[in-house]
Every structure is written in structure tokens, then in C-alpha cells.
């Protein structure tokens, strides 16, 4: 036990002290925080200067009917032709010209925007929606429906999703938020398995390559060396993970106070809002720019659903699948390191590891849409994909028996892979300068210890 502790501490400390670790630890959170803050920051920056748009309306239908927004002002010009204005555009100070052709009855008018700069999507969407609404309204008026009726029929329905839990407990949920939480958890596990699994592999190859392994296993058992390495690197992963979370919040706060002091939103809201935005369909930005307050309140509201997620179960299962998946794949990566002399040798042995991991990512995306599908079910039970796929399903609520089954299978499998890799490892690390094949590895499995 003392020896395995020594190995763990060497593996851990030598990696923690590396420059690359320190850089990754700081750079990662800076990037995350920037990704969360900068889009909002730039959106705000752009919106700050008010753009004035001249309106030339041949249809005469829209006078004073186009409302100004926070960042868009419309000036209705009557005594000037489009040609004259275009000629003098540079001196006019307008951002653009909105030209509406003559309309016969309620035929579709042609609408043009003339501008020196490319108008943003938001501007185009805004104008489009305002004009559409106005024409619809006028059509309604023409058929005798007035404002009173219009206001009376205006309806705004909000669907509140309530999950019926066992024992008559009801829980409010928010689908977007749940998807985001699951996605982040699943993806993090995938990322860390790959990143730190390959560190185990490279560590094993280093020891084999410079032959120090022969000295070390004359003092400790190969199994102790392998487990010491896997555990040491695993602790590095957990350390990096914890530091990333901590530092992301720190940097997020720094960025927010320095970039937009007036617009300080609780940082956790920001995280959620980002993922909600990205998972929304594209035709939404109009609502977001035109009514940002509403969005903010919606976000705060959806964030408030976080408290309905069972964090106890979530955190426990995250750590469980993180550690279980890492041990499973870490020991497989150790095998690859043990049977390879050079980097080029690793490729043929890496394939069986990368295929299930990448498959898990594909299934995970599908499972976000349909967590109850049979594909999602099976892949969240099969140990090689369960750490990633099950994490997406858990926030939606998974029957306990499925979680238990999946966890039990994961434990059994990683005990199996650790045993198998110990068997292959102890032979492989002492095989120098020999091209090793799958058939060879299979033989090693049958050597007596």
C-alpha cells in the first residue's frame, strides 16, 4: 500500500507541476468564461449606437406605424424621392433606407433596405416582423375587427411541465435546461476519458520506452505500477476538473464586472442561458433582440428550475460514471501503452477504444431528444457507452433499476478490464523492439502469473 501511494504521488505531482497542466488549467476557464460572456458583450456593444433608418413609403400605409426600438429609429420621409436620397446618402447620416413599394389592395409589397453596410439579421428580422404584423392588422381592420377585439383574443400560453414522481410528488421541470445539464455532464466525461486516458497511455509508453519500467517492477508489482499510474492520473483529472469549475466562476465574475458592470447577471444564469440559446432553433433571435428583458426573465425563470433537478443523484452519478468510465478506459489505454513501442504502433490498438467512445457521443445527442428510446436505453446499460449516455438521461429521470443495473455492469466490466490489462501489461512492458499483434496479446492473456 505504501508503494502504491508513492507511485500515485509521483504520477500526480509530476503532472501537476508540468507547465502544460498549469497552462491548461488557466486557459481552459478563461476560454469558457469568454465563451459565456463575450457573445452577450458584443451584442450589447453593437446595440449601443442607435441607428436611424429613413422610410420612403410609396404605399402610404405605414406612416408612424413602425415603432422605434431601443436601437433602431425610423424617420418617415414624404417629400423626397428614393433616387435623391440614394444620391445624398453619404451626407444624410442615415444607416439605411427602407423603401416600400406601392401596394394595390393588400398585395404583397416589395420592401427594400438600402444600406452602405450589411444590415444585421436582427435589423432585417425586426423590420420584416413589424411590417407583417402591420399588414395583418390592417387586413383584420378591413374585415371589421378592431383593436378591442384584437386585444381580447390575444392569448399567451405558457406550458409548465410537471413530472409525477413516485409517492405523489410533483416536480416542475424545464426541458431545455435538463438537456443542457445532461449534455454538459456527458460531454465532460467523454472529454476527460479521452484526455486523461491517453495520458495514462503515454505514461506507460514513456516508462516502457526508456526502460525504467524494468527497474521499477523489480521493486513493485506491475499491477501496483499500473494502478498507481491510473489512479494518479485520475486524481490529476479530478483536480483539473475542480479547478476548471472554480476558475470559470472566478473569471466569469472578473469579465462581467470589467466588461459590463451595469449588466451584471448572476453568473450561473449565464451558463444556462448560453446553452439554451444554442439549442434553440435559428428563427428565434428576433424575439431576443427586440425584447431582451423578457428573455432575461425567462432565463432567470428557467434557471430557477435548476432547484427541481435532483442534484444529489446527479452529482453522485456524475462522479460514479466519471470514475467508473475513466477506470474502464484508463486500463484499456494502459494496455495500448504497454503493447506499443512507438507512437505509430498505438494506432491499430486505439481503434477499439475510440469507436465506442465516439459512438457514445452520437447516441448521446440522440438521447437528448428522446431519452426513452430503446437505443438510448441499451447504450446507457452497456458499460462502454453508459458513462456518457446515461448521464444525458439522468436529468430527465431514469428508473432506479436502470441506473443500478448500468452501474453494476460498469463496475463488473471495469474490474474485468483492469484484470485483463494487468495481465497484458505485465508481459507487454517487457517486450521491446517487437511488432506486437492482436494474436500475440491474446496469448499473453493466457500466461500464468
Amino acid at each position: 500500500m505504501r508503494k502504491i501511494a508513492l507511485i500515485i504521488s509521483r504520477e500526480y505531482l509530476s503532472r501537476i507541476k508540468k507547465k502544460s497542466f498549469i497552462i491548461m488549467t488557466i486557459l481552459g476557464p478563461v476560454l469558457f468564461a469568454a465563451m459565456m460572456v463575450l457573445p452577450t458583450y458584443f451584442a450589447n456593444m453593437e446595440d449601443k449606437d442607435v441607428k436611424t433608418i429613413a422610410v420612403i413609403d410609396s404605399s402610404k400605409l405605414f406612416k408612424d406605424k413602425i415603432p422605434n426600438s431601443e436601437y433602431l429609429k425610423f424617420v418617415y420621409l414624404e417629400n423626397i424621392s428614393l433616387e435623391t436620397l440614394k444620391k445624398n446618402f453619404d451626407n444624410s447620416g442615415f444607416y439605411g433606407i427602407l423603401y416600400i413599394t406601392h401596394m394595390v389592395g393588400f398585395s404583397q409589397p416589395q420592401v427594400h433596405i438600402y444600406s452602405k453596410k450589411q444590415p444585421t439579421m436582427a435589423i432585417k428580422m425586426y423590420i420584416q416582423s413589424v411590417l407583417e404584423k402591420e399588414i395583418e392588422k390592417q387586413k383584420l381592420y378591413a374585415s371589421g375587427i378592431n383593436d378591442n377585439i384584437l386585444n381580447a383574443i390575444k392569448t399567451n400560453i405558457k406550458v409548465i411541465i410537471i413530472k409525477l414522481e413516485d409517492g405523489g410528488v410533483e416536480k416542475r421541470t424545464n426541458t431545455g435546461l435538463i438537456m443542457a445539464v445532461g449534455y454538459i455532464c456527458g460531454f465532460l466525461i467523454y472529454f476527460f476519458i479521452f484526455l486523461f486516458g491517453s495520458q495514462v497511455m503515454r505514461g506507460v509508453m514513456e516508462e516502457k520506452g526508456n526502460r525504467i519500467v524494468e527497474v521499477i517492477i523489480s521493486s513493485v508489482k506491475p499491477f501496483q505500477l499500473m494502478m498507481g499510474k491510473i489512479i494518479g492520473v485520475g486524481l490529476v483529472a479530478l483536480t483539473q476538473f475542480a479547478l476548471w469549475i472554480l476558475l470559470t466562476f472566478v473569471f466569469l465574475n472578473i469579465f462581467q464586472t470589467s466588461l459590463m458592470p451595469q449588466h451584471k447577471v448572476a453568473s450561473s444564469d449565464q451558463i444556462v442561458s448560453q446553452d439554451l440559446f444554442t439549442s434553440k432553433p435559428l428563427n428565434q433571435p428576433i424575439a431576443e433582440t427586440s425584447d431582451s428583458n423578457k428573455i432575461t426573465s425567462e432565463l432567470t425563470e428557467s434557471f430557477s428550475y435548476l432547484k427541481y433537478i435532483n442534484f444529489g443523484v446527479l452529482i453522485f452519478s456524475f462522479l460514479f460514471y466519471f470514475i467508473g468510465g475513466y477506470l474502464l478506459y484508463g486500463s484499456l489505454f494502459a494496455i495500448v501503452g504497454a503493447v506499443s513501442d512507438h507512437d505509430t504502433d498505438t494506432q491499430q490498438f486505439m481503434l477499439p477504444i475510440t469507436v465506442p467512445l465516439i459512438l457514445a457521443i452520437f447516441v448521446m445527442v440522440g438521447a437528448m431528444q428522446n431519452p426513452e428510446s430503446s437505443v438510448a436505453f441499451w447504450f446507457s446499460i452497456i458499460p462502454f457507452t453508459s458513462p456518457i449516455v446515461m448521464m444525458v438521461r439522468i436529468p430527465f429521470g431514469v428508473p432506479y433499476w436502470q441506473i443500478y443495473l448500468s452501474m453494476a455492469l460498469l463496475v463488473i466490466t471495469f474490474i474485468g478490464t483492469v484484470w485483463m490489462s494487468a495481465q497484458i501489461y505485465r508481459t507487454g512492458i517487457l517486450m521491446y523492439g517487437k511488432k506486437i499483434t492482436y494474436r500475440e496479446v491474446w496469448k499473453w492473456l493466457k500466461y500464468k502469473s
Partner: protein, 304 residues
């Protein structure tokens, strides 16, 4: 008394037999040569002694009792394929390896300081291994092998990669260790150093034990009746009067008073009888029976 004994060791890898009934016995305080051509099974045997692998059958004894897992702390091993963590600092690394061999951190630091002073390499403590030359790395590796003051030290081709000055330094250090009471197993192809250092050897070929014993006895055993005689007088007596008894292999005539002849004695005669035949004919300056070198023995035994 024997420090280490291996009896009837068998080790199989799948269908290949690496060691077939091999036995060795190493006397306490001696230097023991483990010889054999490449692929004979030496490395497998060394790995069994180091408990890196276990034999399929056979018995191992350490200090007269059964070999135990903790005995590994009393063994030092310098493998043929040497290596250290390239990115790790020298001091840190030796201390780590010494701790794996059961030393406390405090003791490891103390002893490492002693060795650094002895080799006058104190400036290396905080250097990374990759900054050192190959010869310097070898010295560090030597220190890691013996820092825990093992009772049994295994050197596998210890001189490869050293220049003649360092080979000498290392030889002296090995003899020093022997004097202090360490027992040494020495595996090499360099037969000159075997003659120089070892008292007993075992020769393994094709997984089998083909020769063991005290080194002088072995060499005497392989004597083929060849003599080297330096004399003054008429050399023709050898191929006229004694031509049925002696067969000249080589002759070197410097001048009438200094001639050297190498010859094979065809009949069963002891040294005194040969001398009594020659004394009346020539005046003898020196007379020696040529004992085969270990290289000769090695080649002869392995080829058969």
C-alpha cells in the same frame, strides 16, 4: 554458505520453454557469473530472481530459507536496458526509486548525499536526467542500484556504455561492494571481466544449464595439453627427437637464447615428466601449461 539458490527452475511462455530445469547457487560474498549466449534464458532467470515473474516450477532459497516477497528489498538490480525518467530531477528520482526499495525518505536523502560526494557530482542534484550525458546517467543508475545497500546485487552487462576510465571505476566499485560483504550476480558476454571478477559461474544455453562451477576448476577441466615454453638452445629437438610426443603449434624465435614454442602434448604426461624430458636438451627460461580462457571454454561448450 549460499546466499541464493535456485533449484530446477522451469519457466514456459505459452509453448516456448525459456528455462528448462536450471539451477544456480550463489555463495555469500562472492561474485557469480551468469553466462550464456543471447536468448539462452539469462534475462528470464534474472527476472525470476527479481520476482518480476514467477517460475512455473522449481524452488528458490534466500539465506537458506524460502525466498519471500520482502526479500526484494535486499536485492539491487542494474538491468541491461537502462533508463530513468528523462524529465525528472536526478535527486528526486533516485530518492523515489530508493523509497520503492523500502528506504525511508530521510535515509534515502542521507545515503544519496554520501554517493554524490563520493562521485563528486553534487551539482547534478537538481538537474533533469535528460540534461546529463549518457555516461553520467549510467552513474546515476548505478547509484540507484545500490543505494538501499542490497545483500544481493544483479549486474546485467554493467560495462556496456562506459568508457575505459569509467569501466575501471565501476570495477573497483564492484570489488568494493564485494569486500563490504555484498553478493553479486554478474551477467555478461565479456569473458575477460568474468575471469577477472567472478569466482563461480553457470553457463546457460538453449534454456538449459550446461556448465557450472568454480572458474579455475572449469578452466583446468578444459585444458587440452597445450604448453608454452621459452628456452635457449636448439629448437630442432622438438620435431626430431620428440616428434611422437610433441606437436608444435607455433614457434617464435627472437634469437638463439630466447625462443618461445607453443605445443600440444600428445601422450599422457604430467608437467614434471615433460620437464624431465626437456631439461637435458635445452635450458628452460619459462614453462607454462596453457589454461583455456573463458572465451575458449564458452565457445567450445556452446558450439557442442
Amino acid at each position: 554458505m549460499e546466499l541464493f539458490v535456485a533449484q530446477n527452475i522451469v519457466k514456459q511462455y505459452y509453448k516456448y520453454t525459456a528455462l528448462d530445469n536450471v539451477s544456480i547457487s550463489v555463495k555469500e560474498g562472492s561474485i557469480f557469473g551468469l553466462l550464456g549466449p543471447n536468448g539462452a534464458g539469462k534475462t528470464t532467470l534474472i527476472r525470476i530472481i527479481n520476482q518480476i515473474t514467477a517460475p512455473d516450477s522449481g524452488q528458490l532459497f534466500f539465506k537458506g530459507r524460502k525466498f519471500e516477497p520482502d526479500d526484494i528489498y535486499k536485492i539491487g538490480y542494474l538491468p541491461e536496458e537502462r533508463g530513468l525518467y528523462r524529465k525528472m530531477k536526478v535527486g528526486e528520482q533516485v530518492i523515489y526509486l530508493a523509497q520503492l526499495k523500502g528506504l525511508s525518505k530521510h535515509d534515502a536523502v542521507k545515503r544519496l548525499k554520501y554517493w554524490f560526494e563520493k562521485f563528486e557530482i553534487f551539482g547534478w542534484w537538481d538537474k533533469k536526467v535528460e540534461e546529463l550525458s549518457k555516461g553520467m546517467q549510467q552513474k546515476i543508475q548505478f547509484i540507484t542500484t545500490i543505494i538501499h545497500e542490497p545483500e544481493l546485487i544483479i549486474f546485467d552487462e554493467p560495462f556496456s556504455g562506459f568508457d575505459p576510465i569509467n569501466v575501471d571505476l565501476l570495477k573497483n566499485e564492484i570489488l568494493n561492494l564485494k569486500q563490504k560483504g555484498s553478493t553479486i550476480i554478474f551477467s555478461t558476454h565479456n569473458m575477460d571481466s568474468v575471469e577477472e571478477l567472478c569466482s563461480h559461474i553457470t553457463l546457460i544455453n538453449k534454456s538449459k544449464n550446461i556448465l557450472s562451477g568454480e572458474i579455475n576448476e572449469i578452466r583446468n577441466h578444459f585444458k587440452t595439453g597445450i604448453y608454452r615454453i621459452t628456452f635457449s638452445g636448439d629448437e630442432n629437438v622438438f620435431n626430431s627427437k620428440f616428434k611422437d610426443i610433441f606437436e608444435i603449434i607455433d614457434m617464435d624465435i627472437k634469437n638463439f637464447n630466447h625462443k618461445t614454442i607453443k605445443m600440444h602434448v600428445k601422450t599422457q604426461l604430467n608437467n614434471n615428466q615433460i620437464l624431465s624430458l626437456l631439461l637435458p636438451e635445452v635450458s628452460i627460461i619459462s614453462f607454462e601449461e596453457v589454461v583455456p580462457s573463458m572465451t575458449d571454454v564458452f565457445i567450445k561448450v556452446v558450439k557442442n
